[in-house]
Each structure stands twice: as C-alpha cells, then as structure tokens.
Amino acid sequence: MTEFLQFLLKGISVGSLYALLALGYTMVYGILQFINFAHSDVFMLGAFFSWRLATWFKLIDPSPLVATSLLLAAMALCALTGFLIELLAYRPLRRAPRLNVLITAIGVSLFLENSGQLVFGKDPRSYPQLLAEHTFSVGGVNVRSVEVIAVVTALALMVALHTLVYRTKIGRAMRAVSIDHKVAGLMGIPVSRVISFTFVVGSALAAAAGVLVGITYGQIKQPADSSWVLYGLKAFVAAVIGGIGSVPGAMLGGLLIGLCEQFVGGYISTQLRDAIIFALLIVVLLVKPSGLLGRRAIEKI
C-alpha cells in the first residue's frame, strides 16, 4: 500500500510536468495541425535559461522569490523563442504541405539541440537548489516539499491556461482559429497574431516545465541528450491520448502518462517503461484515434 501511494505521488508529480508540456503540443496541433517537434527543445531551453541566469547571478541560496523570478524569466525568454520559431520557420510555410512543416519542425528541433549544446556545453549541469528541501513522511510515504511545490505550480499554470482559453476574448479567438482560420478572419480576428500568441503561451508553459524539472531533480541533462526529446514525445503521447486539440484532454493525458510510467516502472520494469508508453500510443491511435476527450475524429488524409 505504501509502495502504491509512493508511485501514485511520484506519478502525479511527473504527470503534471507531462501535462504542462502536452498543453503546448495540443494547442499548436489544434491550431495548425502539425506536431511541433521543437517543443521539447523549448522545454530544454527553459531549464537551461534559468540555470544560466541562476549561475550568472550566483543565485545559490534557496529563496521562493528567486525561484519565482527565475521561473518567470525563463517563461518570458522561451515565449520569445517560441514567437521567433513560429515567425521565422513556420510562418513562411503556412500554405505548404504539412509534411514540409513537420520536416521544418525537426530541423528547428535539431538546430536548438545542437546550438544549445554549443552555448550551454556538453555536460549535464547540476541545478541550483532554489527551494529549501524538506522531506516529510505521511503514513510511511515520503513526500518531498519541492515536488509538492512543483505540482502546485503546474496546477496553477494549468488553471491559468484554462481560464485564458475558456474565459477570455483572446481564448475565444484561439478556439475559433483552431476550428476555421478563414471564418475566424471574418470575425475580425487577426489569425496570424493569434497563432503567434499560441506559440508564446505554449512555449512559456514548456519553459515552466523545464524549470520545474531542474528544481525537482537538481540536475539537468545536456541540451542534446535524448531524454529531452523522449520527455517531449511522451508528452505528445499524452496529448494524443487525451484527445489532440483538447486542453483538458492534455492535462488528463499528462497525468495518465505520469501515473502509467510510475506504476509500470514500479511494478513491471523500469527499462520497459517507455516501450509500454509507446505501445499504449499505438493502441490508442488504432482503437480511439480521437483520444479520450477529443472532439474531432482523425481524418483519413
């Protein structure tokens, strides 16, 4: 039982990070119908931007204020990165076949990984301890304070995003654009700007996930490490399982993937974990391609 609860907790903690990432994939897919392969690299940059700032300014003492400002700074920098990626790489291809956009996305991903490696070096970096670490035991289950804070932060961001998408004017515009670009234009919605905004928001969330990874694990892998891409892929799987294009679906999917990963890793095999998640993806795509909360079935073409 204790073991079960431990896996559950860990699953929620990892799952909330997947959910943050999955939101970026699902929003871009919803609005432009392509897999933004570079998203996992923006996530990586979020971790490295904050690491770089922290080491530059020698922010080594744990402080919630510093942690929050680093989080916001990384989100702002990645939002800018996302904006530039869309503007320079994807916008020129707005009318091109989707395959070309996908290849471009792979190009952007490779570019960010390898230039990240040039800028930030080829070694894993230890991430400064931005928050005081306490571990307390609840009914035999070890709970780390940083993990709790990470989950709460992730949840807060998700609530904020949900409010943005479903309660504000720009959110309505985003949903309208994801349904029909042309008609959205007729409403007076500046479609290109809304698409930019979607990248900005998604990238900021990815950056937050990157910072939370650093805070939770105290170490970040080198920029071109395949674990970043794998993180991203699993988050994309989460978005598909939740129903691509659906914001609540991405959150649910992220959580499910996190739990699944921990339980499979805990009870079956850590090594087979990723294989099982991809197998799950294939099964979902074959059985219910629209995902759990997806509205649109996947067209055949």
Binding site: R172, R175, A176, I179, G185, L186, M187, G188, I189, V191
Partner: protein
Amino acid sequence: MSLLEVDALDVHYGAIHALHKVSLAVEEGEIVTLIGSNGAGKSTTLRALSGMVQSSGGTIVYGGRSIVGLRSDEIVRLGLAHAPEGRGIFGSLTVRENLELGAFSRRDGKVRSDLERMFERFPILQERAQQSAGTLSGGEQQMLAVARALMARPKLLLLDEPSLGLAPKIVQKIFAIVAEINRDGVTILLVEQNAHLALSVAHRAYVLETGEVKMAGSASELAASDEVRKAYLGVG
C-alpha cells in the same frame, strides 16, 4: 460615391479563372443581390470582397478606399461583415461565444447592449445562449450567422445563401429579417440561388454566369425580363 465599387475584378483558383472582370456597385442603404446558377462565381465574389480569397486583378473600393490586399480581419474593422456560405458557425463554442466573436474587432463598450438587442431580435438565440452552437438546427444556425455578422456593427453586410437547406417557412422568416436589418440602415449584398426570393427583397440585382456579369438592373426590371424568367425563375 457608392459605398462599394468593384471594377474588373479577377479571381483565379490555381488554373481556374473563377471571376472574369466582374464590375458592380452597391449604394448606401440598398439591398443588392447577385443571382446565378451554381458555380457562377457569386460566393467567390463575396470571398474576394471580404479578403477570404485574393483577387488577381481589378479594384475594390469600399467607403472611398481600396481594400484589395487587405486581410479579412482588417476589412471587418472597416465595417464590412461577411456571413459566409455554409454559415461558418463555430460548433464547439456556445451561441453566446459565437456572438461575442462577431464583435471581436470592436473596441467600443456597447457590445453587451448590442448582444441584448440581438437576443431581442432573435429570441431563440437567447434561449440557446449557453448551448454549443453545433446543436442548433439549420435555421437557428443561419440566424446565428446573421446575428453574429451584425455584432460587428457593419455598414455593409455580405450574406451568402441564407436560404440554403432551410424549410420554406424558415426561409420566409430569414428574408423578413434581412429586410428589417436593411430598414435599420445596414446595406446588404446578398448572394442567393433562389432568384425569386432574392429579387422580391432586393432593390437592384446582378446576374452572374460563369464568372462574368451578364445583366444588371433594378430588381423589378430583372424579374420582368424574359431571360431571367426563363433561366432563373423557372417561368415560360
């Protein structure tokens, strides 16, 4: 000076020459209708006017300025709204959200009161305000499309096939509303396959055939002309 002046408008879809030197004018306060058979270029004309498709030649002058090359959202801001073919309702959004989107470009504070006015004019939309728009019937969706376009407070409203797929009784109702809107001061450019209905409500009309203007005149003149009666009114 007409509200809208179109001169020698050309539109190509790839290799297909969809509009061929179309010229027309709409005066302030009028209802002007474009009639013609399927594929004559009626909807394409509206799309070119609202920036949904790019024209390949000719001029479009609206309210004294050229709007060729402007994006849809810029054109709407000038007071030219378009209720597109197939209604273009955002099915997964609520009726209210659809209406609010219609006023997206407006910065004045009167959106809320306009929404109330719209609900008065279309009581059924008030009833269904919180429902997702995809659950509405065809007639209700058409009303929503018209209401949503009106939320932009347009000077000129482009209406594409409002009768499409609707029962005759509902069509009557929609056309009554069109006339009413016009009385309130909105100029209307109406595309309609049902020529009889269109000519009954319009002041003037243009007949389009294979992307070209074939005839033009007052609605009553055209309704009386033999050619129109034969080709489009199914008489004689």
